[in-house]
Symmetry: C2
Subunit: 619 residues, 2 copies
Amino acid sequence: MAIARVEEKLGLYAEVARQLRADAIRCSTAAGSGHPTSSLSAADLMAVLIVGHLRYDWKTPKNPANDHLIFSKGHASPLNYALFRAAGAITDQELMSFRKLGSRLEGHPTPVLPWVDVATGSLGQGLPIAVGVALAGKRVLRAPYHVWTLTGDSELAEGSIWEGLDHAGHERLANFTAIFDVNRLGQRGPTELEWNLDAYAARVRAFGCEPIVIDGHDLAAIDAALERARRADGPTVVIARTLKGKGVSFVEDKEGWHGKTLDAEQARRALAEIGDVPSRTFPTLAPEPWQAPARPAPRRPEWKTYGEPVATRKAYGEALAALGAARADVVVLDGEVSNSTHAEDFKKTAADRFFEMYIAEQQMAAAAVGMQVVGLIPFASTFAAFMTRAFDFIRMAAISRANIRLCGSHAGVSIGEDGPSQMALEDLAMMRAVHGSTVLYPCDANQTARLVGLMAEQGGISYLRTTREKTPILYADRLDDFRIGGSRVVRGGRPDDAVAVIAAGITIHEAIKAADELKQTIPVRVIDAYSVKPIDTAALVDAVKATGGRLCVVEDHWAEGGLGDAVLAALAEAGVAHQITRFAHLAVREMPASGKPAELLDAAGISARHIVTAVRGLR
Amino acid sequence: MAIARVEEKLGLYAEVARQLRADAIRCSTAAGSGHPTSSLSAADLMAVLIVGHLRYDWKTPKNPANDHLIFSKGHASPLNYALFRAAGAITDQELMSFRKLGSRLEGHPTPVLPWVDVATGSLGQGLPIAVGVALAGKRVLRAPYHVWTLTGDSELAEGSIWEGLDHAGHERLANFTAIFDVNRLGQRGPTELEWNLDAYAARVRAFGCEPIVIDGHDLAAIDAALERARRADGPTVVIARTLKGKGVSFVEDKEGWHGKTLDAEQARRALAEIGDVPSRTFPTLAPEPWQAPARPAPRRPEWKTYGEPVATRKAYGEALAALGAARADVVVLDGEVSNSTHAEDFKKTAADRFFEMYIAEQQMAAAAVGMQVVGLIPFASTFAAFMTRAFDFIRMAAISRANIRLCGSHAGVSIGEDGPSQMALEDLAMMRAVHGSTVLYPCDANQTARLVGLMAEQGGISYLRTTREKTPILYADRLDDFRIGGSRVVRGGRPDDAVAVIAAGITIHEAIKAADELKQTIPVRVIDAYSVKPIDTAALVDAVKATGGRLCVVEDHWAEGGLGDAVLAALAEAGVAHQITRFAHLAVREMPASGKPAELLDAAGISARHIVTAVRGLR
């Protein structure tokens, strides 16, 4: 390139960087809160990226050829929004609405803005999600896009960052570039490694990615690094030494300025230092025209039907296989336990869309979120107990308005000998407390298949809880009637039932045994509340009315936050709490140990024998 | 050492290893479940450790000079228990009770056994906890013990492992040694890195620890490595190449044998291969006699008292400072936000007992668990939203019967402009669903101080939820009356109250405003349910009786799993559900955005105005 051209380019970058700095200060000062200094450190990096390297059709955020840019350091939202302003995606007026009620420009980015893929702000999440977007681009879509993620240095202390880089390295994601903004200062003081760029480089290299170490304020160096990153044949990490607050002398590299805004006078001085910057729109690079190859039209999945006892986890795997054959947009991820969750069965029909995530549940959840960004339908599974590992990612996925499906196997004490570390006893509480979630808990294989089918169509975060042990088949007919928000009466159902037992999953079978034993003396209605959230309030109200309010809830879960709480909340919401005359709640209340499944159900007080006693006590 | 001595030593190691292998097979075959092959790969490593290097007084597991050995690969419990047998801690008869109901030898180790520090079995946790034990030994106790942790290779995919090694490196924990049992095979097939020991060594080195790469079946090499590890001046990781199932030809290095036991005939053949091994007790090394220096006797903490509005998070920090001055066994950990949680105030009285955990919430929780192993009283804090990152560690801490105190700040929509990524709206649900947990949510600074004091005395997992904004002082008297399981009536309290509003934390102040506004027309009882778990059932029942069952619960939390569910569950358990004639539940039901705290409380429908409307509707 001619020297004049190079100088012109660098001049443009500098101009963009000045505007980004000025706008980050202006909007955060107007808001009176936010993170200007964390924005300033990365302004040069982002200026070069946005006008020199990012290929993005700002008019069509859903263009499948668009690059992706994820601010893993979500608190640098002033910079993120300033970028959108520089690209012409938002007006200066909207920029100045930052952090105000009703504004799309929230304190941390969310996909309320069409150019934001996912919500960030819980540190250490954007990078692993970017890995998921890159993985989908490389292995499923074969798309031309490159995935860029801006990462702060404080968040490099999160293990999830290294899970992400490990997977980027293992999968050789040449379409992935992380940009580490190493500004040395965290919230409360220096970071662990400060400006030890060699240490970061060694870590990055050891995790299978190519480090590119630069001065993050040298525009030519940034330009070269990003060019090298896009052309590399593996994943890259640009490790940029930066100054927090760069460009404003009185905050530059100073402690005590994290998450603080400049007041009006300070902002005036800062803008004077940066120079007179009329806020304007800069030309950016469009992606090459590309259309994803047409997928075969989805077919109706051919669900297997079952007659003999089968574990619901096995039915989950076989349902995934049916989905895999029927739809080309379903992808499956598993945390190195696919022969236990039975997610491995998906490989029989769609091996190329199965992702082994090894024992890295955070990365698994993040990759699922990343894959739905580009329109795929991810199902991710591990033992339900280990879903707790990914709770922060699941919580954030809801803020991302992500559509992901999770399956937790080996729920409850009924797993038996492995003991409490492997028993999920809090997963219903966790998943109920996710905004807009759907929580399903099947008790037989035929039901499981249909619920998996419903999950594929369901938006938001949906969760399926499966059981280790084989369970008898209860359902041979009306299989198309299962629905989210539904339930099924499996014993009784007459207006003169004396007691209603409400259960789901493994305890349905105990409840049925109890009801059958009591048949001659007490007519028991057993309700299969397979949809724990939303729960079938109408069926519960009907049971209250029929039984004169005699209810027994039985669950293989701690007493808090699960089915018992869901039933009471629904009845109270429906205004019939006062009709609950007698209430028994059988749940796990003592720490379980090891034993045979039946022994442990009994020891926990949730076996048929205990249900019989409880029901008798309710008469 | 004379050649004869060396040969004698190696012969002893070999004999121990044979017994460990034989016992691991015998007990798992008798149980019919468990992980013999994952035990066999590490048998040589553990044989050399237990008779040659571990300094442990098996008769006195609480001896403060004892080394610590934590099986991060908890599924190798047959090996762990075989070690206990070889050390004479348990009998052969007890060994054979493995995984049976009532046995202390659960499927994965738990501290039901006095030689087990913590429960493991959720992979990637034992190592970070071991870092916590080592950190306490080095920085607080100045104890002579060395901490050893046996880690599987599959679990090295967990980011938490790298958080742990990062901290071990940063703190230069010379008393810490991890032993990587690199047997190449995970549950469902090969691990990501298989036998790429160089890759592991590079990662370990990059994270600040010294790698020692060996053949994990070469007894002399193991001996030398463990010796070097103990003498090193920094943290060490022995990276051992091993064979899964080593010592039994037909399972050695074979896929498909994870978590599978040998049947009786296979066990017979295996034991024949291993050789005739009479199960016996071997001599082990005792620790050097050492007593911890006497600590100053604990004094009664001098709680600050408050009159002007103060944020409960600030009162938390100042209460920690009071505790730090009064007790030498309190330690404080924080996830790089101590100027927000105000945990930094602890440094004013006990700077040497403050631990900066950077942004690594899993490691923070793990270190807290490790520190309580050696008798310290840890308080760990971060934003309540980010506690979700550590949920699996908290869940496991309950199985570890650990006594830890957690504080989550910035709860609810009332944080304001930062937006939903920083708002904890599921923490009450999460913490209620932890076995044996205590969940506290103060509304004023004086109450906060006293609850912190109660937490210091409380066993199990206790959790304090604090608020970002300053809140008025409600309590000036009876400050010693706050108790776990208590509540306080802050408005009304007469037998003819018309409606009871149950709230906690920030919503108490909204409820008071509402009650005061309604005073002339509707007598409202406002109950401060600061102890969310256990909740004050008697006070709730009394409110039901007084008001004819007219209740309104208001909480800055999702509708699921929080205060509303807790109230209904308590009343149902108390048998008075039928007396709840009218129930209103004001909680967060839509995804919040950014705005001012008051705006967001109002937008979520939990402000005074909404309470007034709800109470009127209950009349």
